[in-house]
Symmetry: C2
């Protein structure tokens, strides 16, 4: 039985390290009273089962069921395709990239992995969807359709296309072999289809939002199929739950990191939250976090006539790659960012840099060391340079990238986000701002309600106006 090993270092976010762009200790302690109230509110909502993500790591029965299904899939299929968008894709994709071999699909094609190739269809792009259907042998392909509401237009459109192909290629009864549906346990279109066609289903609890669903079947089934030990993953999350249980900001890493980001944004003008892993395996953690942070906190607050627009803009970066793309801006551009580094002490593989160009003295110091040493030193050097330039940053360092630590890290960010919403006084769990575009899409696709007709009229006027100026 292993356990988690992650450290969190926030020194470089503090004024004593980065000067006026950093946070004073008194600013943190000044939030403690509010922190206590937010903590109590979150605990209450947890106990009353209003907020569901907190307790996801503890459902052992569900884990057994998921592992059984995953074993079936591993036996029956060479390809496993996740159909989902947003929280229904970012979580599973992030786990798969973090914990699987970097070239898993390629090795799997050579029969060297014993587990299906993993694909994620998250965009209703015909080039991708048709492209994948051209590439796969359908006989050995399983699909996991994921939508919390069961009515996500993009996911359903892709599903409808593939459902039809499978049904025509094989038979109506083959559907239950090829599709597993992860959705609301009680209602929604996907649930209706699953019941009618006797498809296997897994539940997404009503009180768990898409972006907080990585420890529900949304994340767990694809993870288990990819060969990730989901018991360890959840055990890491549960361990972090304990470590984030105190109401004191200074002894709760999730609350502390939330408070630092909140103060950085609202008091120090750090309107951008960069997450920069120094590891290809951790790359998609930044994309998962990007949804969590943006959608939970990016909100409009209306109080009488005053409207406030709230929320840091999260940016996903990658070290060392973005040293050759973004660091020039992070160093010399506006001091409007706080950077979160993610790194690992050990990499899974060793990759020595031998002394091959002996004539080139200037490269001598790179030789006889490991690529991992280079990458780790690049992280340290970049952190150092940013700090010297007064640019605030924090870091999470794992002993190694494993299932325990991934569970712990993602759980921490979820608690951090829920707590940050308390500081910002916004609802972390809604997304009212997406409705307007969603409705306009349905109108344009030909839905014909009364509202759609009115909207279409407005839209036509808009299109006319929009044509006024053209250049090129």
């Amino acid at each position: 039985m292993g356990s988690t090993n992650i450290s969190y270092n926030y020194n470089n976010a503090m004024a004593r390290m980065v000067g006026k762009d950093g946070i004073a200790e008194t600013e943190l302690s000044g939030l403690q009273k509010r922190a206590l109230a937010i903590h109590k509110d979150l605990q209450k909502k947890r106990e009353e089962k209003i907020i569901g993500f907190f307790d996801l790591p503890y459902d052992n029965l569900l884990v057994q069921a998921i592992m059984a299904i995953a074993n079936d899939i591993k036996r029956n299929f060479e390809n496993f395709v996740v159909i989902g968008i947003g929280g229904s894709s970012l979580g599973p994709a992030c786990l798969q990239r973090a914990l699987n071999h970097s070239f898993h699909n390629f090795l799997s094609s050579q029969g060297r992995r014993g587990r299906p190739r993993m694909f994620f269809l998250d965009n209703p792009d015909p080039d991708s969807v048709k492209g994948l259907m051209e590439a796969l042998d359908l006989r050995t392909t399983g699909f996991n359709v994921i939508s919390k509401s069961g009515g996500t237009a993009e996911t359903l459109a892709i599903f409808m296309h593939i459902y039809n192909v499978v049904q025509r290629r094989f038979s109506k009864t083959a559907l239950s072999k090829h599709f597993i549906v992860t959705t609301n346990p009680d209602r929604g279109y996907l649930r209706e289809v699953a019941v009618a066609d006797k498809l296997k289903t897994l539940p997404i609890p009503e009180n768990v939002g898409g972006r907080f669903s990585v420890f529900s079947p949304v994340g767990l089934l694809p993870a288990a199929v990819a060969g990730i030990n989901i018991k360890n993953l959840l055990s890491g999350a549960a361990e972090m739950d304990q470590k984030c249980s105190k109401p004191e900001i200074m002894s709760n890493p999730a609350y502390l990191n939330a408070a630092i980001h909140y103060l950085a944004d609202t008091k120090k003008g750090k309107r951008i939250s960069v997450m920069m892993p120094y590891s290809d395996a951790l790359k998609d953690v930044a994309f998962w976090y990007r949804q969590l942070w943006a959608e939970s906190l990016g909100k409009k607050m209306e109080k009488g006539k005053t409207v406030k627009h709230i929320g840091q803009t999260p940016v996903a970066a990658l070290g060392a790659v973005d040293q050759h793309s973004q660091i020039q801006l992070y160093m010399d551009g506006p001091n409007d960012k706080i950077v979160t580094f993610l790194c690992t002490k050990k990499f899974r593989k060793e990759c020595k840099v031998p002394r091959v160009f002996s004539s080139i003295e200037a490269l001598d110091h790179l030789a006889n060391q490991d690529l991992g040493t280079l990458l780790s030193n690049e992280y340290l050097a970049t952190e150092y340079a940013l700090t010297q330039n007064g640019r605030p940053n924090v870091s999470f360092t794992m002993e190694e990238i494993n299932d325990f630590n991934m569970g712990a890290l993602l759980y921490l960010f979820e608690v951090q986000t829920a707590f940050a919403a308390g500081l910002y006084k916004v609802n972390a769990f809604d997304q009212p701002g997406v409705e307007q575009g969603k409705n306009a899409t349905h109108t344009l696709m030909g839905r014909k309600s009364k509202e759609d007709r009115a909207r279409m009229k407005q839209f036509k006027a808009y299109i006319k106006e929009r044509k006024k100026y053209k250049c090129l």
Copy 2:
């Protein structure tokens, strides 16, 4: 002989569409005098060969040479690995994703493409580098090592590892079969190695910076190997060169888009430039642009005692995926962004959404249409919703995603960036802010110059300070 077909629509960046957060026509015309001066300066530097990227589309002899080398590679190899970072990777990766089949590598493994699988090693991450080496059959693998200076630490470290593996597996003479080096024509470590080992080389002209090198051999060789018609690509770029040749802002799309972004940033608080393609194929254009915009404009200006920090932060997004991740923030969060949509009228493939769930009336309007129609309508709906909310945006729409249009689009963004640097009064072609971190890395890796020793001392003091507070 085809030609380009792209339109640029900037109505939604203007005050008459988005109100006070938009740009007034007088603000654009107010820049015309400066535009003329910047135009003359750019023309002069083009003629004097100080800025080289402008003329890259016109070197026909080089194109012939590259195509001959690419044909050799296609005949000899099943895998082609680009080793490069920043501008030496983002350009070729962007072309390959835009113009190749979405699942090219997978199909290629089944012998269904007639061209090598394409890989990009851009990060000195041992899990990726060793991982790829485990997956590939070296006998049928070619490597293209790319570094403008010939001294990029990350690229050289990866190269040294693989060079050694190839040398030990085969022989010293096999090196010239497996490696092609793209670097400075006259000097640098890579050049020295290439000469000593008689490796094939291609030049990156001295006056072409990494982030402006996509139409040099950096972008062209991998593109040609991937089966992209590089003549058409360059012909599209040349056509855009013509379309961006006028000094008047209002009739030069590159200057106009630069002016709009400059005004949005400096007058309307739009400190973030989001690029949001609505097509998986165009996804990496946003990552290529992200380097171009950040590294060229993110600069420090010192005038006497006053220091100004300049530069929009570019953000790469993707439609429709990020409607389920970032649009909540873009709609309701701070109005500090200008969005550039990239889209295509035609997709390469058709992918019908059939009427399969006939009992579910609410989905009826999705049925019997193409996925491409859904994606295009989602773009329109999102653009509409943002505009209604007073959020400025512009759009580039291609008739289809082909080599001509890709050449034209990327060339336009290069001219736009060079011109924007004139407006911001910064040097688009340097990156002084990365030196500090680069030097610190060499120090940490054990380089032992006098400066390194001093730096190491400072660094040790820093590490001690940095340990002061820990939580977790």
